[in-house]
Symmetry: C2
Subunit: 430 residues, 2 copies
Amino acid sequence: MAVNIPELEQKRVVIVGAGFAGLKLARLLAKKNFQVVLIDKHNYHQFQPLFYQVAMSGLEPSSISFPLRKAFQRADNVTIRIAEVEEIQAEQNRIITNVGLVNYDILVLAYGTQTNFFNNQKFEALAYPLKSVSQALFVRNEILSDLEDALITRNFEDRQLMLDIVVVGGGPTGVEMAGALAEMKKYILPKDYKELDYNEVDIYLIQGGSRLLPGMSEFAGDNAKEYLENLGVHVMTGCRVVDLDENYVYLKDGSKIKAGKVIWAAGVKCPRINGLKEVCYGPANRLIVDEQLQVCEYDNVYAIGDLAYLKSEEYERGHPQVAQVAIQQAKLLAKNLIKKQSKGFVYNDLGSMATIGRNKAVVELPRFKFKGFFAWLVWLFVHINSLIGVKNKIVVFLNWTWNYLTYDQSLRLIIRPYIRPKRKRPTGNS
Amino acid sequence: MAVNIPELEQKRVVIVGAGFAGLKLARLLAKKNFQVVLIDKHNYHQFQPLFYQVAMSGLEPSSISFPLRKAFQRADNVTIRIAEVEEIQAEQNRIITNVGLVNYDILVLAYGTQTNFFNNQKFEALAYPLKSVSQALFVRNEILSDLEDALITRNFEDRQLMLDIVVVGGGPTGVEMAGALAEMKKYILPKDYKELDYNEVDIYLIQGGSRLLPGMSEFAGDNAKEYLENLGVHVMTGCRVVDLDENYVYLKDGSKIKAGKVIWAAGVKCPRINGLKEVCYGPANRLIVDEQLQVCEYDNVYAIGDLAYLKSEEYERGHPQVAQVAIQQAKLLAKNLIKKQSKGFVYNDLGSMATIGRNKAVVELPRFKFKGFFAWLVWLFVHINSLIGVKNKIVVFLNWTWNYLTYDQSLRLIIRPYIRPKRKRPTGNS
């Protein structure tokens, strides 16, 4: 049965996913002559670039999440539905969700990526992904409970399991996570866990490629490595994880690392949704789109953001899966839909950046690169500016200022979920 | 095996529970000539009076929780262990916890209360308690997901199940929760859930006694009732819940209310710990103490806070289970231990208060009572002032100011826990 959605006499644009791309598009179509239905499995937008700070007790989930309903309180043409898409029935112009059918005139897919464990079931079972605020909170709880366990563990070898942390993947998430862990070791452990010898804590960053931050220049990668090594991180480039078990991380060169926590930031892929033709899928399940961001073979289906795979001369392997591309694609698509035009997408690369820690960052603008304190300030400014909601901007700014001045954040709470059986309820559409 | 705790040449005071009483005592004994071991099942202190605001998306858990380790960063004589006490072996001066033995010279029990379902298994299985931040987050998620479900539910009767809420218990928690729910209906639903008819939302407050706020005066109870009724809450005094199922709340007078969410604020009792003599237990498992707060039959075991049951002429049924009593008992016990004296406890009642909503509160001081805007300001001030940590005070103040000015809080996030199998680990003391 169809999901209960108001009937309006406008073309209905159904947007699947409220990440950077989907949210931006919905905001641009708000109060325009469309009926917009925004579907996400969460009732909030999450700011992915800062998940690692949630994992490190630096920020609260609410500071980097924004409720979708609040974002559209003033837009009467936007309907929000919390649902998961199960199938696309393009011939009938409708999608099947876990709460019922949704018809569309135009379908925009913006459901993004998920962690890529490269079909290795052990990686999936044992390593910790970092692709949602819930997963970030889970990592936070694991780190903190392991520190508590280590305190009461007399055996050195057992303690290693609790204290040592391996981060897999040398992209921005891996680099930022490793840097934050090293700062925790340096600034927090000696104050909060005086009984522990913080020299026992080892942080490893494992990167398959020959250098860190492969999406950026050699300048950025080399400086990130130097920063991390100065903080005491064991940076291992040109190194691959081949196996995992409950005690060890096994590397390609035959060596192994004893560590109970493996944070997996080694790559992403897109989920697949039933119903789309096989020919639409590109590498890592990205959807192949043309310059108008239209999914090949379908007239009224678009893909934007990390999901879209648009090959061009400059971007032979598709565009980078970053917020800027998503936002620019949403802008182009909104304009094309509103003005009934079909302009092609041209990416305007505004630059990229990564932070390693206090006063330490690398920034690359189209014309020049820099690092250090000023780069770190730019990183802070750009991230605060990109957050949704004035209150979130203020809260994150205050948090960061507080942390900077005190070298200490007070969010180290192990809040375990309260779980109880859910009542049986009539299904939504009965 | 014994828990790994540093051996110091001081008397060891083991404090069980880091609520108002236990935390205060530990802080007063910090840097004094004792070895203090503070044991709690959480790594943070929780500020119970504001749990209902977490449930109502008004505050984040971290704003009303404070990490214990941070509280004692500068106190070298305080050791913190996250553990649950399973048994007291008073003859051997030790307790058994889930992570091993802990020896003591002096044992202070301050483990407080839990929700009292009066041994009714249906109440326990179906009603929602509100005695921890995790439970408060659970209630938050239930309220928000039910609103989402209601949007896509066409049948009026089914929607009632999702929209109507019954609060059981007319003490401060019940009154404050009912008031906050009524304000959500008035200020938030019309903005966030325009498709819903907010008149369909009914909020019930059920109180067994003849009036609300039985711990306060008639003045307070009557005014709270008037405030709540003006906000549209169905206040039912002299009314008892006799049964629950998945669809209905059954009342003593034979009537029933269709509601899927029942918030249980109808009473508390203390948990029992193996090993204490039966004769120590008073009403609701409180521990009978003498004026020095010493648990009867034991020379070196004390109980403070909600757990302590001290009968006096003025307090024939023991002292009220409120923060002020807990804090004053902790102060007295700290003084007695430090000065090796044995003064008796005399409660200095500073007053009590409850808030119903925006500009609406009742305050009773020893000499006079008042209500309305000024009472509400006093309530705000006293609660902010009682929070632990400068940052929490600032964050809560900013949150409340923001809410007051915008009539809107942006914490309405349904963040579901990420759950995965926990790795097998060697036990702490192996």
